[in-house]
């Protein structure tokens, strides 16, 4: 399996890559199957961290740091806040955990087969060279070719921000009145 992926085990990078991949997969599994939602959330920390490590292996240094900043510093913290403001997080009673088990298994197996087929058929290029700088290229792409989607998403985010502030403010007034 490892030989198929083209990893050379004499290379220290291969071991680090395998470690990151193992951490990512194991913690993602933990997120899905853990009965304790707090454990799920903290496993997500490792998943995000592992994905950032995989970005480093794909020569995407800027993306890796952005992954840490946005997903761990932002989204995970938001999820944790939500969980910690919730009552009874330890023993949740899931009433409908076996809805459509066969259909779900079929869909999951199908996705797994497609992904496995693609990853085994693809001719993965393993390159042993120092990572290139990507920040300049990403900046040029944002400010040049992809300016419109970039600006559109920033307007969307601004709208979401104003909407959130508006909703928070109104509920505050109602409580006061």
């Amino acid at each position: 399996m490892i030989a198929v992926l083209g990893l050379q085990l004499s290379n220290p990078g291969a071991w680090v890559f395998l470690a990151f991949a193992a951490v990512t997969v194991a913690s993602a599994l933990m997120v899905a199957v853990s009965r304790n939602i707090v454990y799920s959330a903290f496993s997500l920390l490792l998943t995000f961290f592992g994905v950032a490590g995989l970005y480093v292996f794909l020569d995407a240094d800027f993306l890796a740091a952005a992954q840490l900043l946005v997903y761990i510093g932002g989204i995970l913290v938001l999820i944790l806040f939500g969980i910690m403001l919730t009552n009874k997080i330890r023993d949740i009673h899931v009433s409908n955990d076996t809805t459509n088990p066969i259909l779900g298994a079929v869909v999951a197996a199908g996705i797994f087969l497609v992904l496995a087929y693609v990853s085994l058929r693809c001719d993965w290029q393993v390159e042993d060279r120092p990572p290139a700088a990507t920040a300049h290229e990403i900046g040029r792409a944002f400010m040049g070719r992809y300016l419109l989607p970039f600006e559109a998403s920033s307007v969307l985010l601004l709208g979401a921000l104003i909407g959130a502030a508006y909703l928070a403010r109104r509920s505050e007034k109602k409580e006061g009145a």
Partner: protein, 413 residues
Amino acid sequence: MHLLDFIHQLLPFTRDWADWFVYVLMVFFFAFAILNTLVAPLTGISTYIERRLAGRAQYRWGPNRVGFRSLLSALPLTRGLTKLADVQPIKFIGSKIPGGLLQFAADGLKLFTKEDIIPSGADSFLFRLAPYVVMAGSFAAFAVFPVSFWCSATNLNIGIFYVIGISSLVVPGVLMSGWASANKWALYGGMRAASQIVSYEIPVAISLMTVVMLTGSMNMNDIVASQLSGYGIEKAGLLGWNVFRYGGLLVVPFVVYFIGGCAEVNRTPFDLPEAESELVAGYHTEYSGFRWSFFFMAEYANMFAVGAIATTMFLGGPLPPYPAAFTEGLPMLARFGEGFFWFFVKSYFFVLVMIHMRWTLPRYRIDQLMHLCWKVLIPIALLWFVIMCGVKMWRMEQNLPKHPAAAAAGAHR
């Protein structure tokens, strides 16, 4: 040469071991070496300074006086030796050597020997894990600091962005400790710390990005290099530093950064997460012994990190305030020493300021804290970002025709 071959040559007996085992050992060795040669002494010096200044501020004599004599007399076995240690104290800039030097040793000894308590109601796995997560987040930033001229552990292209990203590991760590303690005060402290750090990350990041925009690079060594010259002088010394360049306009982001940085490391006047009068001790209420000291090592490492980032981004990093380095042309080690000296003097200046602030200013209220961040610091940081955009564009207009390479490129078109 390949790293593994190098290890095999250096230590022949490792040839028989599995490769992965050697790699794992190497990772641990490097982590151990960095922790013990850089981070641990740094936090040690910072705690020493903090104890001394706190002792002065509060009229507690101990931390400024504890010497060999008192330590020897404290232990029954060595009490007889006190005569030997009864040397005349040396006067040195108003203080007496060893001026409280052993308070540091006594603190360490105390922390080592304290019982490690895990509350019965706590989630013991997360409770044990949390100090490591917090420590990893704050220590990982040390990898990119330019500790001397063009010298850092890794010359990362995205340097300052990496620091901002990796230090966000601290937030889940703090929340983890707060939740796992199964203690209301700890949970409140964790939530406060998280909301405070997340909020103050914004003005901090914007003011740092102002410098990145002006420099055109996120690499910390490049940012230092750009501060060599200024005002048209090749080696400008003090005048080349970012705070003094651009007619001193960057003083505002600098101050915003420093205030935000203090809030991010939970130092007074922003130490609400561990406010003793309200929350016992905040997110580390239930911790004792060495786990507790992990949080404090992380805090002192963070304080130094704030100073180091401020130094690198605004005060020229390892560059000396005089125009040309003294050790130019001398061997590598001497050059390294000069840069190292200035980097640490400048960074420790900020640590000292933070310690003085802690023992001078009262604590903010949570609403004042949020008001300061969202309604004062963020607008100022944003406004100054826009102003500096204008400055950058004006300078580009001014400089472009004069620059020979650009003029030549224009002629070719």
